[in-house]
Amino acid sequence: MEILTGNELTSGGTVYLDASGTWVESLAAARVFSNEETAERDAALAATKAGGRVISLEIEEVTLEQGVITPKRLRERIRAAGPTAPLTLKGEIYDRQHLGEDGHVSI
């Protein structure tokens, strides 16, 4: 099983393609493509590339257990959750990047 992920152009934030064709921040909302859906996956990828608003596009392998999507690669789990180092010097939890007002992208 696979998902599509990338970085939104203006914020650089991590985004996932959801079932409605919108690129969203939440991994949980990502559309999971089965092995039989490679044509749909590739079409979505091509449409996104053509739009140019999501960059560094990747196809990522995931597992889906009890409705929870988990990327196989640690790198992707960190992309989804943000830096794991406990706290910044300001004592704040490292948060991931969020989309700005101009960062909402659909294909």
Partner: protein, 552 residues
Amino acid sequence: MYRYDEFDAAFVMGRTAQFADQVKRRLSGEMTEEQFRPLRLMNGLYLQLHAYMLRIAVPYGTLSGKQMRMFAHIARTYDRGYGHFTTRQNIQFNWPRLKDIPAILEELASVEMHAIQTSGNCIRNVTADHFAGAAADEIIDPRPIAEILRQWSSLHPEFSYLPRKFKIAVTGAPNDRAAIRFHDIGLQAATNAAGDIGWEVWVGGGLGRTPMIGKLINSYVPNEHLLAYLESIMRVYNRYGRRDNKYKARIKILVHEEGLETIKGQVEAEFAEVRGGVLTLPAEEVDRITAYFAPPAFKTQPATKIDVAYQSIIDPAYGRWLDHNINSHREPGYVSVTISLKPVGGAPGDATDKQMDDIADIAERYGFDELRVTHEQNLVLPHVAISDLRAVYEALVATGFADGNTGLITDMICCPGLDFCALANARSIPLAQEISRKFAEPKRQAEIGELKIKISGCINACGHHHVGHIGILGVEKKGGELYQITLGGDATEQAAVGKIIGPGFEAEHVPGAIETLVDTYIARRESADETFIQAYRRLGEAPFKEALYGNA
């Protein structure tokens, strides 16, 4: 400090305006990512795991309070309130938005800074000894020649598309604090028989997946011909460096594959052509640039001495700071102070906007408005009167950077690793934090003495693990992280590449493994004066290997 002349100001302003237009065209969709990517990289803008990252050059690691305040302002206004000082004497911001980059670059230009050539296959920020212009052991201040190299290499049309990136480091002292033997070109001040000061030139050093110690290609190049000589090396590299394989494209591979004598012959042939030409440094221009680096107006100080042993009793933390964070100065009554950016449990090299502002205040009040960034991810106040040390220390206590741990086990170099970096295979910051906590007890650190741990989250070796007395390299194994430990690396004039000691460790076992190595060293050292690296050189790897893995 150097001040931009009209040419510097014009090219930085021109590039800033040009990139602002490119960003605008990218955001409007007029430019594709394929077209934009090489342009943003030329301006120091990367895309990392979570966001863009902007890398700003601190030329030869020298900056003023005003420039440090600008970093604080950028952190506060455009980023998340902190910045990360790197092993290349740069600063990186991890969370800027693309639309803000033109404004950031414009603000940087207002304090004579930029992000040009902090990426790409060009000559990168020239780095230097962080005690330049201050150290007691210095033959010559390397900053004037570093500034000349900055001017020569900035937007150099012939060297903007090299086979691969190119890094130059320079030191004016015999004690190498700039790791010059691990750069594409390393320069060390040298004196000839007539007493003139010129440069030893080392070539083909580097870390990454193929670590190599630089080779001495010329033991004395007169100062006036240094640019011609370096241009000759660059031309040979540009002509013969491999472009078919990025992993074999650095000059270290060319020197290794062709042999030093072949490369030397080619460089000498080129040098014979260009020597005495337009690249000859005019004495008046050298003098003009050197004048910018004139020593500050030192005052004759009363013969101030600090009884460190006494201070250590009445205020142990201050005593430790005096013991470890002070470097001898060439001017009587003054010292250089290292500001450790390695508080226990912190991310090595990080500083908040408030801390950067505070450090700018301290530099302006007590340090002739001068600061340095070190390749070991600390900051330096190069000129502090001994009589002001207590006041400087107290100001640093207030800002949270008064740890007296410079050169000790908790003063680690650490790359951003898989928490931030798109290239990394494993995390490094959390590991550094764990090791730091394990060895937090000051007495324990002092008992261990000088020990350099360097951590990289991938084979590209931004964390310099190859030259750590103890090096830690994170690799990916079966979807998880594994850490290889190397021993015996050394970035100084006694340059050595560390050797892998045995099978790797999972993250949770690394701090324990480090403790085993430290305990072995303490048990085997001849005295407390024998450092870890000295003991390792005497003993070899066997006792350390046995301690980690047993006899099997």
